[in-house]
Amino acid sequence: MAPMKGLTVFIADLRKCRSHEEEERRVNKELANIRTKFKEAGLNSYNRKKYVCKLVYMSLLGYDVQFGHKEAVDLASSAKYSEKQIGYLAVTLLLPEDSGYMRGVLAALRRDINGGDDVSVCVALAAVSNVATREIAEALTEEILNQLLSPSASTFVKKKAALCLLRLLRRFPDAAGAHAWAARVIPYMGHRDAGVTLAVTSLATALAQQYPDAMRKAAAFAVRRLKSLVLDGECPTDYMYYTVAAPWLQVKLLRLLQYFPAPESAELRTLLLRILRHIIDAGQDAPRELQQMNAQYSILFEAIGLGIHLDVDQGLMHESAALLGRFITSRETNVRYLGLETMAHLAAYIDSLAPLKRFQGVITQALRDRDVSVRRRALDLLYSMCDVDNAKPVVGELLRHMGGADLALREEMALKVAILTEKYATEYAWYIDVMMRLVALAGEHLGDEVWHRIVQVVLGNEELQLYACTIALQALNAPVCHESAFKVSAYVLGEFGHLIANAPDSAPIDQLKALQSKMPSVSLQARAVALTTVAKFTNLFPEIKTACLRVLDRHRGALDAELQQRACEYYALATVESDALLPTVFEEMPPFAERQSALVSRLLKQEGDTEDQRTWVPGGRDINRERRAQQTGENPAEADVLDGKDGELPQSDPADGPADPAEEPSITESRRHYARLLWESDGILYDGDEVQIGLMAQYKPPAGRVGVFLGNKAAGAIYDISIQAFVKDSKDDKDPPLSVQESPGQSPLPASLLPLGQARIYFDVTCHRVFATAPTLRISYTQAGAPTVLELQLPVTCVHFMAPVTIAVSDFFARWKQLGEAELGEAQSVLKTPFLEERSGEWLRGVVGGMGFALIQGADPAPDNIVAVGIATCESGERFGCLMRVEPKPSHSLTRITVRATNDMLAKAVATNIAMIFDSK
């Protein structure tokens, strides 16, 4: 950039300013000057650049610059590079995303990316990355991708294009349409230029987290590239960093591989093992220089991470454990930190914790480290490596450190101690002791969850109750009693005080006195708990009822509304002349239903990453296994709709734990709707609180038209409606067995739907071959600001492309036998049909007829049995005959279905459909 004197002078002026006020005056003066200058016509290029630069500088200093946007866009659209450069800089820094000038920016960007020399393309790509609005992402992704994929583009353009795509993808995962092109970038991971490879690998890592299927091939590329770097030592000299070959690339590749399952091919697997072995062996000797150490260790830690992910032979991991043991004693804080972090990762997956337990002493030491993040890692690691054997010492250590730990860490520590104690408690006394100590030590830093949990555990374990009462009373009698401890004690005594009533010094009146003595010093909330306990005492110990009533009476005039209300109500309850009322109201609490511990969910809630997703969470093997199982087996329902699962996808995040039971009815409901539509041509597909979805279908094999109706049941309008139907798993299939397309020539969906309004859309479906999976209907809309996505199974199966044919009665069994011998396809099932009565033959006939079969009257000797024939037609002209025999036995509540067809899949589909229909009747 040519020097601009005015700009230099201005910056010098500002830097000379001694006070903020002086600077502000100077800025005001300059702003006024620029305003007048911009108002005058005929500003030359040099001045325009200079003034825009000044504006940028002022905006960087934090002043609000509300003009000059037009000038910035003008510069950006200029043909000269020097103007373009400053223009884009100003656009990225000055323009807000919703600015009206964005359209002009977009046009300039498009022009530069498409035509223009390398420097212009690069400056435009940099601007795209910095501005990155949704509009730009939608409009320019294609062009940027072309730059990356084009054979003529230079390496640095490719590099920038890849990083630009990464930025767009991170910002708008949905707008970039990455699914379509994800796989196309993979080959560039093998680009000869290491810079391009590095950039593309970053992009691939982001893509792999979103579209693991499409990116599967990237794993092989990554392994091969690693091999050439690590084993063959092929690396351009520019990328050698302190004798380590392209460390950044190695780290990225290793990280990328962690998002994929272990390679299936044995060759790749052994290759990968060799690579890991090589890296780990190289890590044995400590490098001398700091930079080399950083590079080498970063690779090593990623490699160990990958090793853990692949669950490779335990020998390698044991070696890694030993290596990590050396790192956690290192003098470098960073190395200690990483060592602890990786060891926690290892502890989360390794089968035997024995190799880690050797370092327990060192790890405990790390709790006292100077650096707070190291302390935190040490805590995570201890938490992860805790099991039944070492629970006591670990918990003891943690409690010992609790007093000295800083506040932020203390809360986490307390939560972890609470979880570990509960999980690995073998003696009840130990659990109660530890928890009471924990409450006393870390009281202020604990959420309510902890004391709630203690009460839950005590309620759930009868053996615990007696001991808990003793300890509770002790706690109340201690000179200092922490608030949470008070609450726990009060609750426990209220429930189980009678268990210790006969012990010395624990008579009911002693319990009441202990409670009363602490009541004045605790918060209102805790006092309310204590009042409930007193009320329970009136029921538990009739002998001290008068004393209890006195306490309640005193609180009837409490200033706090909650206390007053409780006291009044309890007092009234206790003085009512009824023997049955009090015991009923204060009946012993039932044990709590076991759910996921609130503590664990609270701990997990603290996770929240903006960058690459973590592949593991601290917290032992069980939790990580569960996590992995949830991730891999996430969508069993969508894989095969006909295996008896419902058509609706689980919408809740898998990490949320089991679905809310309240959702159950709606699921069975939608399943019933689906089954009904298997034999009826129109009806309701989904009936929720906000929307209702209806379906109307007409088939003319091999084609059909399905109309989807969306009705708004909510109180407010719904917006952003989109209705799509597609066949899952057929994206990359050139020739899908079933095609689903929006019918041409229909009016588009309305932008919004008022309450009780209805939108409709038609889809044309064509059956090319017999298929197994029903298409998916995805409906998304926004209601009251909350976007909702519904994914439903569209009831279009190959059975729907069946038309009835009539054949002679005598021919039926001849064909039946013929098909049975040919063994082309047969399905038989015996279904429970308790709903069938004597006269429900009519219904059965309706079902069979509705499925597209012709009933053959009088062919079967038994009058109740139904035999039927249908022919399915495909686009290719292929036709498949299908015979069905239904033998109901109402007396046994059973029905046998036999289907024989010239196509196995068809026979199975018919049988499954009938099973579903019966199942949901």
């Binding site: 903020h20 005056r25 005001n28 003066k29 006024a32 911009f38 108002k39 509300q66 003009f67």
Partner: protein, 414 residues
């Protein structure tokens, strides 16, 4: 009381660090620098409590003067002390800034040692201190035994043996008017901060009596003055009993008293502004009337009329006294009137063009503010009725009284 006093320069480098107690370490200086000086703009309050340590700071010239306390001290006292320290500095070095501190390290430490003992403020009277804290430019005029006599005697602020050929006393009544008027012309707030400064050149140990037209003394004919604060030489007991102000004055200049008046204030100027925003321009019509006797006149008047931050060009016309121009640094039209005779009026009309903004933000319309000086006029109506000087030798003395009213924060909303 105070545990330490620090003086920093503009950048936050410690120039002076004096600890008075063992409850703080020298490193608290860094705490203050990091939390207050380095985060300018974030910390506005002059009192900052970090942990259990409290920092009181004032900024003066290019210095930060900071007192540190670990106890719940009287903040007003601390600030009084800090301002006195500044006064000392000005009196000793002429100008109290970074270079003055740097070239007088020893003296500054010596002064800090004298004025604060174990964190408790000691004698801070400049004249007395100058007797025994001396430099080349400040030489002591008396012998050591006399210093002890004076510093520990009844009138620590005055030497015994002062002799003038001509005995004179000057009294300046300086008033600052604070005013806030709403856009509709209602007075929202008005008060006067007054100050009586005296310069005495009197021989011996004169006993002075001072009389004002105080409402309480004058049986409702005078001015209602409140919040009187006196120099330490005034006998407060007497004032409490019969509201007479009697004292033995220090030699030279000193501030005799401070007061405040809120009732029946004579506002020196009436401002009638009309500001209209019309799309891309703003029109101003501002009329100012001098509201005092035609014999007097206001000098050094500056009227600041704020403009929107997007102003570009201004067409200004002044009818009457003064000249106005657009000052982009202040975002305002600055109208300077060197002299405005009493009962006269002057007006300004202006049209300001605005530049288009990317996101139109409504203009906050800050108030018009005035700066001025009017001699021989008191906004509170306060008058000096008499100043009597009694001395053993019964000499004749000449007294001069001067009145001045200036603007404090004199603002009119538009």
């Amino acid at each position: 009381m105070l545990s330490a006093v620090f003086i920093y320069n503009q950048k936050g480098e410690v120039l002076i660090s004096r600890l008075y107690r063992h409850d703080v370490k020298r490193s608290v200086a860094d705490v203050f620098r990091v939390h207050v000086i380095a985060s300018v703009g974030a910390v506005r309050s002059p009192v900052t409590t970090l942990g259990s340590t409290t920092f009181f700071h004032i900024r003066y010239d290019n210095l930060w003067v900071c007192a540190v306390a670990r106890h719940n001290v009287n903040a007003a006292l601390v600030f009084e002390f800090l301002y006195r320290v500044l006064g000392l500095g000005v009196s000793y070095f002429g100008r109290f800034d970074e270079s003055a501190v740097k070239s007088n390290f020893v003296l500054v430490y010596e002064l800090l040692d004298e004025v604060l003992d174990f964190g408790y403020p000691q004698n801070m009277e400049v004249d007395t201190l100058k007797l025994y804290v001396t430099t080349e430019s400040v030489r002591s005029r008396v012998e050591a035994p006399q210093i002890t006599m004076q510093a520990t005697g009844a009138t620590t602020w005055r030497r015994q043996d002062i002799v003038y050929k001509k005995n004179e006393a000057f009294v300046d009544v300086i008033e600052a008017v604070n005013l806030l008027v709403s856009a509709k012309g209602t007075v929202l707030r008005s008060d006067v901060q007054g100050q009586i400064v005296m310069r005495s050149f009197l021989s011996g140990m004169p006993e002075c009596k001072f009389g004002l037209n105080d409402k309480l003394q004058m049986d409702h004919a005078g001015v209602d003055i409140a919040d009187c604060q006196f120099h330490q030489c005034v006998r407060l007991g007497k004032f409490d009993v019969d509201r007479t102000i009697s004292f033995i004055p220090p030699d030279g200049e000193f501030e005799l008293m401070r007061y405040r008046a809120t009732d029946t204030i004579n506002l020196p100027f009436k401002v009638l502004p009309v500001v209209r925003e019309r799309g891309r321009t703003v029109e101003y019509e501002v009329l100012i009337k001098a509201n005092f006797s035609a014999k007097l006149c206001a000098t050094n008047m500056v009227v600041t009329v704020p403009t929107p931050p997007s102003a570009t060009t201004c067409r200004i016309k002044v009818t009457g006294a003064g000249k106005a121009k657009y000052d982009p640094e202040e975002n305002a039209l600055v109208w300077r009137i060197s002299r405005l005779q009493g009962l006269q009026e002057t007006s300004l009309t202006a049209v300001v063009d605005l530049a288009p903004m990317a996101k139109p933000v409504p203009w906050s319309r800050p108030p018009i503010s005035l700066d001025f000086q009017v001699l021989m006029f008191t906004a509170s109506g306060l008058l000096v009725r008499f100043l009597k000087v009694f001395e053993k030798s019964n000499y004749h003395s000449v007294k001069w009284v001067r009145y001045m009213t200036k603007a404090g924060s004199y603002q009119v909303r538009i």
